[in-house]
Symmetry: C3
Subunit: 349 residues, 3 copies
């Protein structure tokens, strides 16, 4: 979709300078920019602007950084406004009601006529697919699933039966939602499967990465809150609750019945024991480990295994690196003290 | 499937009180229970029982906890018996011999007439699918695979050629069994692929989680023993042996030629170097790391990177947290000793 | 494919002894060897040769280890030459131009007539599939992808639009190439998606494991260099550059814009923060963690979280294990020093 600079600036509610009629057709990096590209600049990249000639259509930057004579939209948060501009310039694809001949819709399933079903899509009985959804090749929607308006399911996504998606949910390729939770009771001879008959509810505007797995509740619900963003290869176990606006980076694993409260930010490869609780707004660094039952309290950044406040982690880690020095200090103290004892009282120590 | 309380109690070989004719149609959490639900109670949740009115059909609990007048089945291991009850009330689906029109069976493959093949299932040449199997949408069974009776393969499972499954194996969506092991020999210029021509054998009653990957042996066999339970996103490398009854939580990775002996329990995100051995019944905590070649001995719980007995790990971790105190103790000792030297012999230290 | 011993020895440019006309049909472990098997021996497995009778067709081993009268090919690097022999004996399958009836090729896509397309393969518009490629069941090739000659894509591989593969690339089942990178800008209320409109380029002779995910660049390119080998369940984020010959073991995660230089070897479950750089030839042990922005310098092996040179890591880890001793040394020093003060100057300490 192509917009003029003035149209884009108006939509962003930002002032601009230069030729407002110039067309913008894409967002680009500086390297790949062409005459229809919007680029952006953050204050610490000032030098980039000095490159001559300026090949892009327009720069999005703080006013002070835009040289006279250059097309520019002024922004004090250029990365954020560039992201907003990108959504205007390259909006999400709109479904056309395309139904590939190989797509299979079971009797009793309801697919909105506006939704797209790619090749080999399978919609099982009693499932519902909302207005404007796009289901790419090979998606499997289990019996009784309910998919809200405007969702995008990339190739090979699998929804087990009974999963609910809100509006505008994006599930990336290979993600699996609603698999059985991992629960067994040992009877002394074998592992007896604990029932995994709950469900998964994913609320509006959630995005979930490639090959991520989210298990159904054992008896209750696994819930992913509005606007949460989850990266690739993440594991979310049964009965976990992820609240609104939470961000979780790749390969993190969250064990059963844990709760991640609103707007927490979780790094990659973090591991949570079961029944943990991460309070609102907490930030947890990559590779951290949280012991079962632990409450991670608001107001801090956490790091390490087991997790500690970042300041404490840093201090401990610095001391860890000084263990050799501590050890030789101790050895020197022992020697010095022994010599002193000998001097003071040769019979004792 | 609906059973009466007395039928269920008889099947479980447990005594009951109350109305034995009352029907039970499902197992439920307390929150979601309705008049046909069986719920259970563990001793530390006694309070739940006090909620009025009791909405479920029957409670499964220690006799002492069941109030007079309530329908109850007595159990001293209520969680275990609840799991058993769930299997009776909601048994695994039974195949009907359904063969979706889009399922493809290569010439020379043998599929038992009782097995279900969902949409887009692909069975390659010389493969065999046993009695009562259910293969969901998009499952791919490679050439020469042998699938025993009563297996369930969820959507998009891939078996590379030559994989063997025992009876009642459950493979969750997206799991990949029999991919090439990761082995190369560097010739000084490039990585030459070491042959990955072995196979995978999965024994009876194994359950494997979503998007888990199990590689074929390079020259021999990768084996998953009877009744082993493996969670989501686990990686099992070539020539690994997992023995009977082992439990492995999500995102754990086991490197080549390692052996996990019977009934070991492995937490999530654990990493094993190659040629490790975990002895019978060992418990390894989440996020632990086991160095290549290491033997982890029976009779203990292990934790940490590298792995140590839990008691030792706890002591070390506590001391790690006291490093600042140790450091200041050392500094104070140095100062005090220097002062003492000065007093005793001002010329020395 | 069957070769005679003399043909194989000639192809490997190695000398042999014994019956040069004997046929070799496969490479095997010692246990599984039959009369048409090639086996190999490394110096530390000398005993194996003593087993009688020798059931294989031929052994590949250092000359000094091959007993008189046995068929043997001499090699000073038997594991490497065995890998080379395996490629000659079991070459990669050759495509036959097979096009399964259920494979779907969009108008405007170009598939070389020699390429194989398995059941349910989907090739979207403007994609190109080169000579000799083999695409197994259920592979999805997005619009505008470009797949070079001789590539093998195992079942259920997904390429998002615009991905480029070089020659002889192997992608294992379930891998997803070109998913959106994980980038958001928080506007104070919700996470705004940063544009993920770049691409992925995978160069010649790369092999990528099952269920691994490689994200497209946000604005630029994610690149996997010639001959790189990547194991299962690995996560490669947007704009990462993996150089020629790099090896990455399972479950490792590499955050955005990181660079792994030539021939680096990365263990399993390693985590890289964003904007890290690993210099040429570096070896990083499993489970290591690299902080954002960190440069890991050539010439060493690294280990730990955060990563340190192995020698330093080992020393620190040994001292960590001796913390109890250090603590009791400190306590003993305090007591001894207090007693000494008392003796020297009872009024002070």
């Amino acid at each position: 979709m192509s917009l003029s600079i003035s149209e884009l600036a108006t939509a962003l509610q930002l002032p601009f300078q230069g030729d407002g009629t110039r067309r913008i057709a894409r967002v680009s990096s500086w390297d790949a920019a062409d005459r229809e590209s919007l680029v952006f600049i953050e204050s610490n990249e000032k030098e980039a602007l000095l490159r001559e000639p300026f090949g892009a259509a327009c720069v999005l930057a703080p006013k002070s950084l835009v040289p006279p004579g250059m097309n520019g939209i002024y922004s004090d948060r250029p990365k954020l406004d560039f992201a907003r501009a990108a959504i205007l310039v390259s909006p999400r694809p709109i479904s056309t009601g395309m139904r590939h001949a190989s797509a299979m819709v079971a009797t009793g399933a309801e697919v909105d006529p506006s939704a797209d079903l790619g090749p080999n899509v399978v919609i099982e009985s009693r499932a519902r697919v909302g207005k404007g959804c796009i289901l790419h090749a090979g998606v499997v929607v289990g019996a009784g699933c309910d998919i809200g308006e405007g969702c995008t399911l990339y190739p090979r996504v699998v929804l087990y039966p009974g999963v609910t998606l809100g509006k505008r949910v994006i599930l990336h390729a290979g993600s699996v939602i609603g698999g059985d939770g991992f629960g067994y009771v040992f009877d002394g001879k074998e592992q007896i499967k604990f029932p995994q008959v709950g469900t998964v509810v994913i609320e509006d505007d959630v995005e979930i990465g490639c090959n991520t797995t989210i298990d159904r509740g054992s008896l209750g619900v696994t819930r992913i809150g509005t606007g949460a963003k989850i990266d690739n290869l993440v594991q979310i176990a049964h009965n976990v609750e992820i609240a609104r606006g939470v961000v979780i980076a790749a390969q993190t694993g969250i064990s059963g019945s844990s709760v991640i409260e609103e707007y927490a930010v979780i790094g990659g490869q973090v591991g949570f024991g079961d029944h943990t609780r991460v309070q609102k707004g907490v930030v947890i660094g990559s590779k951290a480990g949280i012991l079962p039952g632990k409450i991670v309290r608001s107001g801090d950044v956490y790091w390490g295994v087991p997790v500690r406040p970042l300041r404490e982690y840093k201090r401990l880690n610095a001391l860890f690196g000084r263990l050799p020095e501590m050890k030789s200090d101790i050895d020197a103290l022992k020697a010095s003290l022994a010599r002193l004892w000998k001097k003071v009282d040769p019979g004792e120590s």
